[in-house]
Amino acid sequence: MKLVKKIKIRNELGLHARPAALIVKILQPTKSMVNFTYRNETINARSIMSVLMLAAQRNTLITVTVEGDDAEYTLSLLEKAFENKFGEDCCER
């Protein structure tokens, strides 16, 4: 199964080292192929260096492509992480 979804980055600092590490950690037990597309660049989301290279900032959209048997589950995990601002910005608001 192949799923494509645009996800917004909500946390203040954007995709810096910690969120990138979290994404890679979340994806570790999953099987699907996960790609991020940002500014015409498509990368493998399982590679932390690639995710870092995007240097994606807050309030921008990342196109997430998930392909594989557990695509739906993988995408839901990712969505949740993005939604929770990767556990950051808790003192905001």
């Binding site: 080292a17 990368i43 493998n44 590679s47 932390i48 260096m49 870092l52 290279m53 240097a55």
Partner: protein, 324 residues
């Protein structure tokens, strides 16, 4: 989209450029990697005029315009300067005719000036633009240079690409990029790989984290760009898979329409990946030099077989004669 501003920022020094007017048009997109000297178009012949090209005014164009009367000059210039013109350049630091400046200003076409000679400017611009417009892609893999051979190590996550690269660096080879390789076609015939500026010289090693190789091992072990000469895919050893044992058949993989030699390297405990990668690189060099170990051995083998056959035949014939 590649704009005139991008081009200017990148090559201002290199092409000795200055902006004369039409700053409003710096956002204009360069859509074709071509430049044009207007030449004939200034005589009013506009059929097949390539309006999307950057126009370069050299000595001939400037002097031809000077010879025209003001009205014709304006008319001819308006004929070639359209909404599609990305930019106009004047070479040899010539002072552009007033009409050219005013039209560029009105229409918002960037007017640039270079101190280079026209021919040099045309050649350099064509080269730089075709570089910029060359097909490119991003590959998942680690690019290293071993014995002068640009080798891209690919494989699934956590198969040990970075560790293999680190091993090579430790033995004096060079890292170009870890994990992400930007590949570009050069001169339409070979590939060149580089790393994104942000993660340059950085590697991620499981259990250690992000390390800066240039700082750890020194400037000698890194490189910014390198031709991509071969691809090695690391994979976990699979007993059901039959791995290449002879090396007679050469495999290739296709990247951006260019065939690159391709090797699959199965891993299992006890196999020294670094040594194996070095051997692949060396063997590649040897092949480039015209020595193909597997093929040469096969030729020798075939020779030996043929000799034995003929010897056997002559022996049999001799024994037949004896019987008779």
């Amino acid at each position: 989209m590649y704009s005139v501003q991008d081009f200017f920022d990148e090559h201002e020094k290199n092409l000795e450029l200055e902006i004369l007017t039409g700053k409003a048009g710096l956002k204009r997109a360069i859509r074709v990697p071509e430049v044009q000297r207007p030449g004939l178009s200034l005589t009013g012949y506009l059929r097949h005029f390539a309006s999307k090209r950057i126009l370069i005014f050299g000595k001939v164009e400037i002097f031809f315009l000077r010879d025209l009367d003001v009205k014709t000059r304006i008319e001819r210039l308006k004929g070639i300067l359209t909404k599609e013109t990305p930019a106009v350049m004047v070479s040899r630091s010539y002072r552009p005719p007033k009409e050219l400046v005013s039209i560029c200003e009105e229409e918002g076409i960037p007017l640039l000036r270079s101190s280079m000679t026209t021919m040099d400017l045309v050649i350099k611009m064509t080269f730089l633009l075709s570089e910029e417009f060359a097909p490119s892609t991003t590959c998942h893999g680690t690019l290293v240079e071993a014995f002068g051979v640009g080798m891209m190590i690919q494989g699934d996550s956590s198969v040990g690409k970075s560790e293999a690269a680190l091993g090579l660096i430790e033995r004096g080879h060079r890292l170009i990029s870890d994990d992400i390789v930007r590949v570009k076609v050069r001169e339409g015939s070979y590939l060149e790989g580089s790393g994104p500026e942000l993660t340059r010289h950085l590697m991620e090693i499981r259990g250690i984290g992000i390390i800066n190789v240039a700082h750890l091992y020194g400037a000698v072990c890194v490189r910014d760009v390198k031709s991509l000469d071969l691809v090695v895919k690391l994979e976990a050893w699979d007993d059901r898979h039959f791995y290449d044992r002879v090396g007679l058949d050469e495999k290739f993989c296709d990247i951006l329409g260019i065939n690159v030699p391709f090797h699959i390297l199965p891993l299992k405990p006890g196999r020294d990946v670094v040594l194996l990668l070095e051997t692949i690189a060396l063997n590649h060099r040897l092949k480039e030099m015209g020595y193909h170990s597997a093929k040469e051995f096969n030729v020798k083998l075939l020779d030996t077989i043929a000799k034995r056959q003929s010897q056997g035949r002559s022996l049999r014939e001799a024994s037949k004669k004896d019987k008779n």
